[in-house]
Amino acid sequence: MSEMRYRDALGAALREELRRDERVLLMGEDIGVFGGAFKVTAGLLEEFGERRVRDTPISENTIVGIGVGAAMRGLRPVVELMTINFSLLAFDQIVNHAAHIHYMFGGQARVPLVVRMPQGAGHQLGPTHSHCLEAMFLHVPGLLVAVPATAADAKGLLKTAIRDDNPVIFIEHESLYGVRGEVPDSDEHLVDFGRARVAREGSDVTIVGISRMALTAERAAGTLAEQHGVQAEVIDPRTLRPLDLDTILASVRKTNRCVIVEEGWPHGGVGANLAALVCEQAFDELDAPVQRVSGADVPMPYSKPLEDIAYPHEPQIVDAALAAVGLAGGAAGSG
C-alpha cells in the first residue's frame, strides 16, 4: 500500500495501462504540455510522447466522437473532458453513438472508450462548471458509469474501465483530487464494476452516498454513532451502471431504513432512481420512508455562502438518518 492523492492514483492508473497496452491512448484539452487542468495527466506526455498523449483543440463533441471511431477500430482511447458541464457539448457522441453503437449495429462493433471528467461544487465556479450530472449518464442504457470516492477506487476502477469493452463514463470529483488515501501498489489492482464498497457497517440505518457524498456520509455516520448512538451502515456503490443493488438491498433488509445522499439535483436524480428501486424491491422491509438528501434544485451559484448551502453537508445527512430512525422531526431534505 502507498498513500497517494486521488489525482495521483488516477495518473498511476493511466500510466500503468499505457505501459501495459499499446492500444491505450489519451486525448483531451490541455492534457499534454499543460499536464491536465487538474494535473491528473502530469508527466505522461514526457513518458509516452505525442502519439499516445494527445492535446486536442477545444472541440468536445469531436474529441469524444474520434474516441468512438478509434474504439470501434480496436484502440482503447481515454478521453478527458475538463469538467462534466463540458460533456454536454459531447452528449450527441456519448448518447447517440458511444452508448448505442454496439446495440444498433446488432453487436458487430464495440466501443471500448473511457470518457473521464470531474464534477462537483466547492470552488465557486458557478453555474457552468460545478454541477453533478451523473444522473444524466445513468439514464442511458449502453453506458457504464463510475463515481469513485477514494484514491484506491479511483485507480482500481479506472484500470478496469480501460480494460472493459463497453463505453465508460468515469466521473471524478474536483474536491477529491487532493485527498490522500491508501492505494494498493499492484499493477493489477482492479476494482470490479458493480460491486459496492461497504464503507462502514451498522445495523440501524443504511446510508448510500454517491461520489464525494460517500465520504461525507462516513463522517455523518461517525457523528451519528458518537452523539446519537445510531449505527449507520454506509454504502458507496462506486459504479451506478452496473449497480450493486443486491448489497444495498441486503443492507436495507438488515436496517429497515434507507437514506440516499447525492450532490446532484433531486428531480430525476440518482437518489430518486435508487429510492424507486429500493421501494420496488424491498418495500416490505422498510420501517420508514426512504430519505433523500440532494443538492439544491438550482443552478450552482457563485457566491460562497450560497454555494455552501446548495450541496449537502454532514448535518443534513445526520438529520435525514435521525428522521429515518424516528429520532428527529424530519428536518432533512434538499440542500
Binding site: G65, D192, R241, P242
Partner: protein, 382 residues
C-alpha cells in the same frame, strides 16, 4: 487545389470494370425503388431516405477505395452498404426489421452496418459521423497502416459544428480521411443557398486546413477520377481532402416529403441527367457494352432485388427475448445490474432459500401441464 482537368483523367475504365459500375448503380436503383414500394405497403417502417439520383456519387467514390479502406455513411446509406458488397438480402431484411438484417433488425434504414466489409455504418445524426470517421482514420494512422477512410455526408452537414471541428482536427493530426460532401442541393427541404452562406462547398474546408475539389456527382467516371486522385493523395501524403460531389436526389428527402420546396421542372431537368442511363448509353456508344448486355444487367438487378424481398419476408422478426441482447458487452468479470427491468421481479430476487426449504417446496413435482400453464400465465402478464 490543383488536380488534372476532367478531360485528362476522366477516361472510361476497362469494360469489365465499367460493367460492374453500371451493374452496381443499377442494383442500388432497383433496390431502392423496391424499398419505396415496400414502404408504401408498410413492410418497412420508420423513415426511408432514398438516394435515387445519387448512384454515380456512391459508386464512383466507393470504387476509388481498396477493400481494406473504410467507408462511413449517413442516414441515407442503403447504397453505401450495397456498394461495399453487403448482400441485398441483408439490407432488405434490415429494412423489414428482421433478424437476418445487416444490423440484426436493430438499426433500420438509417443504421446499416457491415464490419466485415469495412462499411462502418450509417448514422442518423446529421454531421455525427464525421468525428467517427476521423477516429477510424486515427486508428489506421496509429497502427501505421496505409488504410484510408472515406466519410460521406450531405450539404446540410457542412453547417454542423462537427464539420468545422473534425476538419480542423483531421488536418492538424494529418489523418488519412477523405471527406466527400454529397451536395444534393438540399438540407432536407432547405435549398443550399438558403442554408449556407458559402455555396461553393469545396471551399468550406480551406480555412480549416483541408483543401477542396469538386466533381460531377452525376457522372460516375468523373466522380471516380476525382475520388481516386483524392484517396491516393490522402494515402500517400496523410492529409485530409474535401471533395464536393454535385448531384441531386430525384425523390423526396424521405418517403414523407411532399416536395413543396422545389419545382417539378427543376426535378425534370436533373432527371434528364439521370446517371444510370447516361452511363449505360456512354458504354454502348463506346462499344464497352451492347444493348442486350445492358438489358441483362437491369434484369439481373431486378431479379436480385426480388430475391432480396423474398429473403426479407421469410426472415423472422427478432425474438422478444433478444430485446436486451447487446446493450452491453458482457464478457468480462463484471457484476451488478446493467439494465433495469422494472417489470421483472426476478431481477433482484430474495436471497435463495436453503436446500432443505427448496426440497419442501417440491418444485420438481409440479405436473407438466400445470407448469406449462404457469409459463403461459407468465408470458401473458410480462
Amino acid at each position: 487545389m490543383a488536380r488534372p482537368s476532367h478531360a485528362a483523367v476522366a477516361r472510361l475504365p476497362e469494360p469489365e470494370v465499367a460493367r460492374e459500375w453500371l451493374a452496381t448503380m443499377t442494383l442500388i436503383r432497383r433496390f431502392e425503388e423496391r424499398a419505396g414500394e415496400m414502404y408504401a405497403r408498410a413492410k418497412v417502417g420508420g423513415f426511408l431516405h432514398l438516394s435515387i439520383g445519387e448512384e454515380a456519387t456512391i459508386v464512383g467514390s466507393a470504387r476509388a477505395l481498396r477493400e481494406s479502406d473504410y467507408l462511413v455513411s449517413t442516414y441515407r446509406s442503403h447504397g453505401h452498404a450495397l456498394v461495399r458488397g453487403t448482400p441485398p438480402e441483408q439490407v432488405m431484411a434490415e429494412l423489414f426489421g428482421r433478424v437476418d438484417g445487416c444490423s440484426r433488425g436493430r438499426g433500420g434504414s438509417m443504421h446499416m452496418f457491415d464490419l466485415g466489409r469495412r462499411f462502418m455504418g450509417g448514422y442518423g445524426i446529421v454531421g455525427g459521423n464525421l468525428p467517427i470517421a476521423a477516429g477510424i482514420a486515427l486508428a489506421s494512422d496509429y497502427e501505421g497502416s496505409d488504410e484510408v477512410t472515406l466519410c460521406t455526408f450531405g450539404d446540410g452537414a457542412c453547417n454542423q459544428g462537427t464539420f468545422g471541428e473534425t476538419l480542423n482536427l483531421a488536418a492538424l493530426w494529418r489523418l488519412p480521411v477523405v471527406f466527400i460532401v454529397t451536395n444534393n442541393q438540399f438540407g432536407m427541404g432547405t435549398a443550399l443557398r438558403r442554408h449556407s452562406a458559402v455555396t461553393d462547398l469545396r471551399r468550406k474546408g480551406e480555412g480549416l486546413g483541408v483543401p477542396g475539389m469538386r466533381c460531377d456527382g452525376m457522372d460516375v467516371v468523373d466522380t471516380h477520377a476525382a475520388l481516386s486522385w483524392a484517396v491516393e493523395r490522402v494515402r500517400t501524403e496523410r492529409r485530409p481532402v474535401l471533395v464536393e460531389a454535385v448531384t441531386y436526389r430525384f425523390r423526396g428527402h424521405s418517403m414523407a416529403d411532399p416536395e413543396q420546396y422545389r419545382t417539378k421542372e427543376e426535378v425534370a431537368q436533373w432527371r434528364a441527367r439521370d446517371p444510370i442511363p447516361a452511363f449505360g448509353e456512354l458504354l454502348v456508344r463506346e462499344g464497352a457494352l451492347d444493348e442486350g448486355e445492358r438489358e441483362r444487367i437491369d434484369a439481373e438487378a431486378i431479379a436480385r432485388v426480388d430475391a432480396a424481398v423474398r429473403f426479407a419476408e421469410s426472415s423472422p422478426f427478432p425474438e422478444p427475448d433478444s430485446l436486451y441482447d447487446d446493450v452491453y458487452v458482457l464478457e468480462g468479470p463484471l457484476a451488478g445490474t446493467y439494465s433495469v427491468r422494472t417489470t421483472d421481479p426476478e431481477a433482484h430476487p430474495e436471497p435463495e432459500p436453503d436446500a432443505a426449504a427448496q426440497a419442501v417446496d417440491g418444485a420438481d413435482e409440479i405436473p407438466q401441464q400445470m407448469s406449462d400453464a404457469l409459463l403461459l400465465g407468465e408470458e401473458a402478464t410480462s
